[in-house]
Amino acid sequence: MTPDRHQLEADLLEFVRARGERHAAVTSLTDLIESGLLDSLLLVDLILHIEESCGLRFESDDINPSNFRNMSAIVNLVLGQLSVPRR
């Protein structure tokens, strides 16, 4: 069962916006890396949150700057993972 794109994006945006004052204005296209908003702690928490809430496991190749550049890219990554069954 693939979640609705808008619902997933809203959930992930809420998660990231809850990180602090500077994160409150994040939109789906905010560059999380250039802006310095994505630190290693947020990356870990985001990965864990997605893995737990969507029931998937990321692999090394998935965790890279282009997949985590902005919320839209992260949503694409998650939807891609959910639609392609993995080992």
Binding site: G36, L41, I47, L48, N64
Partner: protein, 528 residues
Amino acid sequence: MDIVLLQRDNPMAGATATAVRDAYHAPALTTAANLGTAFLDVARERANHPAVETKACAFSYDWMLRAADCVRRQLCARPGHAAGARVVLQLANSPEYLAAFYGALLADCIVVPLPVALEASRREKIHELCGPDVLISRAEDFGAQRTDAAIATLRLPADNGGEIALAAPRRQGRDVAMLLFTSGSTGTPKGVMLSHRNLLANADSILRALPISADDRALVVLPFCHAFGNSILQTHILTGATLLLHGALTFPGSIVETLGEFRATSFSAVPEVYGMVLKYGRLGERPLQTLRYMAVAGGELRHDLATQIADRIAPAHFYMMYGQCEATARLALLPPKELRRRRGSIGKPIPGVELAVRDEADRELTPGAVGMLCARGENVMLGYWDSPAATADVLRDDGWLQTGDLAHRDEDGYFYLHGRANLLVKVQGHRVHPGEIEGMVEAGFPQTHAVAIPVAREEGTRFILFLAPRDGRAVDVAQIRATCQRELPSYKLPLHFEVLDALPLTSGFKVDRAALSLLVPRITRPVA
């Protein structure tokens, strides 16, 4: 307080330092009296060798020496400048950090390095405690902070390319060189006073325990304002080696790539970083030709993860280390060949350091018995700044420091940790007291009772904040959450906020933290 913002151009390409493999040997640190002059001695000898490399360019020891002298002159020229003045550094890892650090020491100041992203209330409290005379920062690190202080800009390095008159600082030996602010056992900030001797002695101990040499290239992810990061900085600079500063390295894969790309010979990090690198970093898929060793400290790394790292980086070595900022930085090391035999051990004391497990009456315990881990040596702090009572709590007249960690020793003299004797928790190498979070919340919401409980996950330790009303009025979770988000740095930000009707109490009517810990799995594990 004066504010000085540092500015610099990148050194010209023609001046880019080239590594020379000569028979350089670092000066004897056992006899050095001032950390600033020890740096000067190395910098003159290693003039053309890169002290720092960023992605853009290299900064030679000569550049560093000139830049540090520039800072020294600026500080000495202040009206009323006096030895022992406190200089706060608000600088991310950068060439400027080194210039400011050694420049301040050469001007007979006490350096107070603080994290760039420190919650405003804590920064204010620390400023109140140590009364800084000068704050040194960079525009990008200072940000839009409100201030009514005069702001000067200092361009590095000095524009005159000629000889510089070398400074002869007067402070030495047991004079305070730096204050490292950390959380005391009650959660309020405490300034660990480290003397010139403390810093030199611990660097010397580490250099005798780890194979650091003048041609080393250490990839740095630890902030220099942290005890572990500071010890990476001092040991490499005092050896004439090179520090590689390649940005945030948020992605585990980029750490491994950068190690290869920039021919790093060593890497040191806290346990959480190794967890991520193992899971997502592709460590060991391609050999890291230049890597000599990796080291971990600043928290406990699970044994199975440690052996995995060791396997994946062989023939490079993996060192487990243990330390704390009250002892300057590092205290113990587990030799790589003992990693599998001494499961979970933090190793033996490094040269110049004594460790012992003692009971409440300060008597040394026999092997196998669990008690307070204590440390003694030239690296043990002078005490906490302006807090004789807090100092007396941890520092005995005979020179033994109580680490606050419970431990036992085996028959062969290897030490093993058994958790904390107090509520302090390590999060990504930062020592956090639950009271720091609780106090911040209760100050803003006095009608709410807040208790922060640590949760250990595979990815590291974080907090859950339990909230209960004091007077029956509803708890405003949204407002409390917003306040935490605004005030707390990310590693202190609770992962969950859980409201209870009342907090469980022990038979002594204190908050039952153990009972709250038992509630944690129900909260963090979603129903599948």
